[in-house]
């Protein structure tokens, strides 16, 4: 079931009404659990068993970790690691590691046969395994008491708004919300709907239209000018942002309808002035997960700058691999890690997630603009590796861009680029709107002075306009594949 379909909307209405009609918290959790499994089974019911198994293992291991002491405690934690990372390894990474090992052996002259498996990657597996891992790790660290309610825990793991593409929630933040009584807050619900609307518009109007351009440019066999490839890459940067942040906005808005607060996942990342700031604003739930569960356990910044640099790089390489089982994603992670180092090692604090990006002024200074553009350029360089199918294709695209953008004649090729006016218009519209509203968690937050008739006109224009310009083909959310 995809968020941007009428099927999901009807499902949501039914669950919403039933949820608030129920008198007790347990019944509400039971309903959310059932609804979440229906939502997940819509893709493939068999994978519900996998999620249920992961839930049961971590619920049980959580109890064991809590009561055990000494080395036994650590062993129980390893059970959780092996179970969750084993699932990920089998479904997501097995073929990658086998193929890479065979390639490495061939390189040193040893012939080996590749025995890969034809497995379908269960949707959302990377997200819910990380969420359940956070539960056992937090208990191990003494930061969380294990829940005694399997129902609460199962509802926490499978909560449908964020099940298949996050935000990845910490048990210590989300689980207590399932263990306490929720009350309906009309203002929260209204703002939740607005956030959902904004997420849907980003996805169907911007991301899906840009996807057509990106697929055409990245999918062609023809030799394209570097300027057209650059245009395709910029389009991809906005496609993936609108696709993923759109999904997150719908998920967060949807959860608010049920009185549940999810973490913010995006905070206007393309207005960042350096790469360290980008990662405080982009996929925040994943970057903080890696910070807390990988970077800090590795030693963080505790043992001096060389160790800090090594830990940052390692964390980003693993983060790249989390996105997908290919060397392209590892390199994508590596580029991001390297790009963060100058700021991270300088020790400057920089802007945080909740700070207004690029300052509060309407018009930024030239230095701010230059920093934003430079940071965006580095992100685009990394996006090439994220989007291209192979390493050689990525290298070809980067080298063609670098060699062509200095030649004015090459810019003429841009006039033949697909949907240039439409794509540029959509990107500029998005940037302008987000810039003007960047103090708010999402742009559809209006001053109370703006009356309901005007607000409703704006919502209607966004909704019907978004539907009208959305392309007539189904483009799945990009992060479903992870």
């Amino acid at each position: 079931m995809v968020f941007t379909t009428l099927t999901f909307l009807l499902f949501l209405v039914v669950v919403f009404i039933a949820y608030w009609a129920l008198a007790s918290r347990s019944l509400q959790n039971g309903l959310l659990l059932a609804a979440s499994y229906v939502f997940y089974a819509w893709w493939d019911w068999r994978f519900c068993l996998l999620m249920a198994a992961s839930t049961l293992v971590d619920f049980w291991v959580g109890q064991r970790v809590h009561v055990a002491s000494g080395r036994l405690r650590t062993r129980w934690l390893w059970v959780s690691f092996v179970a969750n990372l084993g699932l990920l390894g089998a479904f997501k990474y097995y073929n990658f590691f086998v193929d890479s090992a065979v390639a490495a052996l061939t390189l040193i002259g040893v012939s080996a046969e590749s025995h890969t498996l034809q497995l379908i990657l269960p949707v959302g597996i990377s997200f819910y395994t990380f969420q359940t891992l956070s539960y056992t790790i937090d208990i191990y660290r003494g930061q969380l008491q294990p829940t005694r309610s399997l129902l609460d825990y199962s509802a926490f793991v499978s909560f449908f708004p964020q099940l298949v593409a996050g935000p990845i929630e910490r048990a210590s933040r989300l689980l207590p919300q399932f263990s306490s009584t929720r009350s309906f807050d009309a203002n929260e619900a209204r703002d939740g709907l607005r956030q959902m609307l904004w997420g849907a518009v980003k996805k169907i109007a911007v991301a899906d239209n840009l996807a057509l351009v990106v697929n055409e440019i990245y999918g062609t066999d023809e030799a394209l000018s570097g300027v057209v490839l650059l245009y395709g890459t910029v389009c991809f940067a906005f496609q993936i942002y609108c696709d993923f942040s759109g999904y997150s906005d719908i998920a967060i808005g949807c959860a608010r309808l049920f009185g549940i607060r999810l973490s913010r996942n995006f905070a206007y990342p393309y207005f960042s002035q350096n790469m360290a700031e980008v990662w405080r604003r982009w996929h925040i739930s994943l970057s903080t997960w890696f910070r807390d569960y990988v970077y800090i356990p590795l030693g963080g910044s505790r043992k001096g700058k060389p160790h800090m640099a090594k830990n940052i790089l390692l964390t980003f390489l693993i983060s790249g691999l989390w996105h997908g089982a290919s060397w392209n994603f590892v390199i994508w992670g590596g580029i991001n890690g390297l790009a963060i180092l100058p700021t991270a090692l300088s020790g400057k604090r920089g802007l945080r997630m909740h700070d207004v990006p690029a300052g509060a002024g309407l018009v930024p200074g030239p230095r701010t603009i230059a920093s934003i553009l430079l940071t965006f350029g580095v992100m685009c360089l990394a996006w090439v590796f994220f989007r291209a199918q192979t390493l050689s294709e990525s290298v070809y695209i980067v080298s063609t861009i670098v060699s062509d953008i200095w030649r004015p004649s090459m810019w003429l090729a841009l006039t033949n680029a697909p949907s240039l006016v439409k794509s540029t218009g959509l990107i500029l519209w998005l940037v302008a709107l987000e810039w003007l509203q960047r103090r708010h968690p999402h742009p559809l937050v209006f001053s109370p002075r703006i009356g309901r008739p005007i607000r409703w006109c704006i919502y209607s224009l966004l909704l019907l306009g978004g539907v009208m310009i959305s392309p007539g083909a189904n483009t799945p959310f990009i992060y479903f594949q992870f």
């Binding site: 379909t5 009309a186 169907i204 019907l464 539907v467 009208m468």
Partner: protein, 329 residues
């Protein structure tokens, strides 16, 4: 205790009020959207000569006739791939070409054919390969409904879910067409894809095929083949073949015309489909490679032939029907 109860009661009442107000607002907004949509769509331009409106006339042609005919079932590879006159002259049978568009989906195609098959009919099925690879259909159903070219019992519950999933696309298309119409820029169906481009038997009139396009970059299943949809399609075809047998009709399969330049990248997938068709007991008149034709014989897609290609494929079909299905040459 009494004070606590009162506070809880007041809290509950205020929450219920808040919920009611929220639902009222949400419903109000929804009704507003429906009204705006309805108002906008009153300007929707119906195109009477739309390509898909031919489905209704093709179904009538099938249902009005008697048995003993040659009935062609498939997507546009049938519409653009054969000459009806040549087939009729070569087989001595009346021809009913139901071929229209792969996008109507396998289920609808087969139900349409079942609605009028008679005793002694020979049914030639030729399916675009994408039917074996992914779900097709839901994109075109609203247009078929608009032209009364589809009957409700041709759709299953599963199709209903697909329809719901696609409502946004239907609205998107309808709104765009309305906007073009209001702006005076809607020109109707293009010159080729019109219901009036079909002859009386359901084949495309060669006269309209004036401007062939370069199709050499076209590929089948985008170059890869997943095989996930194959079992579903084979089950549908088996069910159809049994129904036809009960009605006293004969069913044979032929592969669609295949671009020479696109055959190699798709060969493994196409051969896998062929193998499974044979394993399921279907009579297949050819191997996939026998359906390969030079690129120059194609018209505008990887399944549409120009006049010369149509003649070659028709002659080939007549010969194979005589040889393997017992129809006279």
């Amino acid at each position: 205790m009494g004070t606590q109860d009162n506070t809880d009661y007041e809290g509950h009442r205020s929450r219920t009020k808040g919920l009611q107000a929220f639902i009222r607002d949400a419903l109000g907004f929804l009704v507003l959207q429906c009204l705006v949509l309805a108002a906008v769509l009153t300007q929707y331009p119906v195109a009477p000569d739309d390509y898909l409106s031919a489905m209704d006339s093709k179904t009538s042609l099938l249902q009005d006739g008697n048995g003993g005919r040659l009935v062609l079932v498939g997507g546009s590879n049938m519409a653009f791939g054969l000459s009806c006159d040549q087939l009729r002259d070569g087989t001595g049978r009346e021809v009913v070409n139901l071929g229209l568009h792969a996008g109507v989906g396998l289920n609808v195609m087969l139900r349409q054919a079942e609605s009028g098959i008679g005793t002694g009919d020979v049914v030639v099925v030729s399916l675009e390969y994408e039917h074996f690879d992914r779900r097709l259909g839901e994109e075109l159903w609203p247009t078929l409904v608009e032209h009364q070219g589809i009957e409700s019992d041709w759709l299953s519950w599963d199709d209903g879910a697909a329809l719901l999933d696609n409502v946004r696309y239907y609205l998107s298309g309808a709104l765009r067409r309305t906007a073009l119409s209001v702006a005076g820029r809607y020109t109707g169906p293009n010159a080729l894809y019109r219901a009036s481009s079909f002859d009386r038997q359901g084949c495309i009139v060669p006269d309209v095929l004036e401007s062939p396009e370069d199709v050499s970059s076209r590929r089948y299943f985008g170059g890869s083949y997943s095989g996930l949809r194959l079992n579903w399609a084979l089950a549908q075809l088996s069910h159809f073949a049994e129904n036809m047998k009960d009605k006293g009709a004969t069913v044979v399969f032929v592969h669609p015309p295949t671009l020479e330049s696109a055959y190699k990248p798709a060969q493994v997938g196409l051969e896998a489909i062929h193998k499974r068709l044979l394993e399921n007991g279907f009579t297949v008149l050819s191997k996939p490679e026998e359906a390969v034709l030079p690129d120059r014989l194609f018209y505008d897609t990887e399944y549409h032939l120009g006049p010369e290609g149509q003649q070659r494929r028709t002659a080939w079909l007549i010969a194979h029907l005589a040889e393997q299905a017992g129809l006279r040459d």
